[in-house]
Symmetry: C2
Subunit: 469 residues, 2 copies
């Protein structure tokens, strides 16, 4: 069993660390969807040595450690609730240095507390691109992005957070430091501990710094919003675009008419791209090199797809400002969803070819539960949909609290029937360990438990997250 | 302690499995560099169920299991030597089915015994590219390629074997089957067991099948061989090419004059690309999409680099046949090396920017040991050099057996001083566990041992490989 932080424990920690390490701020106990309310002693070290000292102290006293990065996670991975022994909340925000820059190697080494937008900007100053990009990039921090293997809008082209990381430094559950900040592209010297820590949501150790891969900045970019006949037409369009543009597709996002309707309903301003708001549309971004013309390519694609009946209308941005307007539509959807208030939100992945049938069958499955509205949108190119279910207009999601588990079960059952995933990019946190119990391969669960026990025998690292224990 | 295969154990296994599973063939006990001589009972199951049954039987009797894929590994990972208890050699060659093809998703599911060249061909039939490519592709099999996280010539663009794999099926050390053949691009539902098994060289389980990522086939390709001033000029050329061609650089290989000299010396025929064979040259391959002109881009690059004094001569292939001739040079170097016979071969990686200094200092370090010849060549774009040291002309490498460890120590000390790797793409096998002991981070080694003990408490899976125990 774990012990709570006691006054004696806190006093010992305060004697050991500079006063600047200690925080008294309730924001560490909240999370964006306000599903959980946490507690703990917030400690914000500014060095790996101090992280190590804190974890050692917690191990000695068998006190839980909850790594806290940007706090933007949506599944409660950063929150220990008040029914659990009071933990140390290990805030990484002061570990926010860029340790080194290597433009010739397309690498920078960043501490875990660096904010994503800052890393993007610093990469830009190096005339490079750090390709991870997502809605919360202004506050999400690198440690949490890696620990949850975050996705976002450029995954199709560049991969998830995992693919952006060449090496990590981490503090393990016994306080020892894993020195793995390699800048190498190839290093086959033993087990892949980097990728084990990435996506482990702080349950196997705390990532304190990482060597991040940068990529060349596309020289020419182009953005288009095209009205597609249906999700199947969107996939055909993606496939044809892949043949034309190879690896130059930076984003391929599916939008549903519900998203536009919600922006109208909740008063989110945007420039209407079409007179009639479409049921289904895709937002496409290409990024290409010298001497290439991505706008012409999108124009060709549109002409061809129009001839095939795949698309009926479209806008190709003529300027950076027009491109930003199109992206603002996509980026406003989560805010509109939040204002309407979902009964249940799902972050699912499917094999690409199963998506049209999944969307079609989803309509019937949700209608069988209640007169709900569905906003299915997201990273079509990755097979990753955000599939969120909302009450009828004028009603509160709280009116349907009792149906939340029924909705989630229906969606996840349908997804898993296609060999999909019930957590494409958000992780498990404290929301989805029961889903892992229900749907996860028994051998996978057994191996995960064996690894957790081997690396964290006291069970102090982010208890309750990922495995539910 | 492990037990040897006994006649009783063999009889039980023969009673349980079809006769076609049993092999009597000494080729399973040899490896390409003839450093190790193995032994064992060779069993070649043709189903995951039979692999599971074999591993269960071995676990019950505490008999070692050595997974054997294509047998092309260079570090002895596939060989249990005769001073160790006689193991079961688990040959995967009969598990060679393509389980499914998903062209719309750019995925195929292949069993572990599929030969790489066959997978490349099948991907081609699907109008896709399976981008893993290396010298031994005609005999290397998928299971071993994943278990060693193989590299090769296209890693710069597409990543190592790890990056080609979306999911794995594996038999764990207790015989349980990990069902992880996901075709998803995103799936954040727990620890990354796929990447733990990839690169574990069979020491944590046996990969039996995998979902492999395919990519669009480049529509237009171009190949060039350019004479560079020195390795630093080669890196500047690479950087400039990256700005022009983005992700279209499929290969960027460094060749040294020693390679040409060895081909001449050992009678390997090739078409001489230049009148004077250059000290340093780079072989470049671009692959681009519709409407792009990679030959023109290489021509521009050459003109610009010539103006800057980076390159002094060059050949841009005008046909597929000419391209093949240039590639034949690169691909003949390992054979020429083998005919000359190395004292010590090293598969090292370095941060890109350290390579010129490493090569320069290597000359002095080797000269201080003996009058040796060095062939430093390989995957410059990945920072991965094959750094092989040879006797003076007319002498045998065996004359210098006593100096082999001295040479290896000098090379690896130099590499590790730059934060490099002593095994970039070959793995550890039974050759390099002592190097891991010497150079590996102590926390990394401790975590690796903890994982090994947790997943394989009996120590039956490929004992001696990776960790040396």
């Amino acid at each position: 069993m774990l012990n709570p932080v006691t006054p004696e424990f806190e006093a010992r920690l305060r004697a050991q660390l500079p006063p600047a390490c200690f925080r008294d701020d309730a924001r560490f106990f909240e999370e964006p969807r306000r599903k959980w309310q946490g507690h703990g002693l917030v400690v914000a070290p500014d060095s790996t040595e101090d992280v190590s000292a804190i974890v050692r102290a917690c191990a000695a006293a068998r006190v839980a450690v909850v790594p806290y990065s940007g706090g933007t996670g949506l599944v409660g991975g950063q929150i220990v609730t008040q029914d659990q022994p009071r933990p140390v909340v290990l805030a990484l925000e002061r570990m926010n240095r860029i340790r080194s820059r290597h433009p010739q190697e397309n690498v920078l080494v960043a501490e875990a507390g660096c904010i994503l937008a800052d890393v993007q900007r610093i990469a830009g100053d190096m005339d490079r691109l750090f390709p991870l990009s997502l809605t919360s990039e202004g506050s999400a921090r690198i440690g949490g992005l890696l620990s949850t293997n975050a996705g976002g809008i450029n995954t199709l082209r560049y991969g998830t957070a995992r693919a952006q990381c060449l090496g990590v430094e981490a503090v393990m559950p016994d306080g020892s430091v894993l020195h793995g900040l390699t800048r190498l592209r190839k290093d086959n010297t033993g087990y892949d501990l980097r990728d084990l820590l990435i996506g482990a949501e702080g349950s196997l150790g705390v990532i304190t710094a990482s060597a991040l891969r940068l990529v060349p900045r596309p020289v020419a970019t182009a953005t288009a919003l095209m009205v597609v006949r249906d999700p199947d037409a969107a996939l055909t369009l993606l496939s044809r675009l892949g043949e034309k543009a190879g690896e130059s597709i930076s984003a391929f996002e599916l939008l549903h008419g519900t998203g536009f309707a919600f922006m109208d309903e909740t008063g989110i301003a945007y420039r209407r791209p079409f007179d009639h708001l479409p049921d289904w549309s895709v937002l496409i971004e290409l990024g290409m090199g010298e001497g290439q013309d991505p706008r012409a390519l999108l124009q060709d694609l549109f002409t061809e797809a129009h001839g095939l009946g795949l698309v009926s209308d479209g806008v190709i941005a003529a300027s950076g400002a027009q491109s930003a307007e199109l992206w603002r539509i996509r980026e406003s959807i989560p805010a509109a969803n939040a204002r309407v208030g979902a009964i249940s939100s799902h972050d699912v992945a499917l094999p690409l070819s199963a998506i049209p049938e999944f969307i079609a069958r989803g309509v019937g499955a949700i209608a069988a539960i209640g007169p709900f509205r569905v906003n299915a949108f997201g990273h079509l190119g990755d097979g990753n949909l955000h599939y969120n279910v909302f009450p009828p207009r004028g009603q509160s999601p709280r009116d349907f609290d009792a149906l939340r588990p029924v909705v989630m079960r229906a969606v996840h059952d349908l997804v898993m029937g296609y060999g999909g995933s019930f957590s494409a990019e958000h992780g498990l946190g404290r929301l989805k360990p029961p889903e892992l119990e229900r749907y996860g391969d028994p051998t996978k669960r057994a191996v995960m438990r064996a690894i957790k026990s081997a690396l964290d025998p006291l069970g102090i690292m982010n208890p309750g997250a990922v495995l539910g224990v």
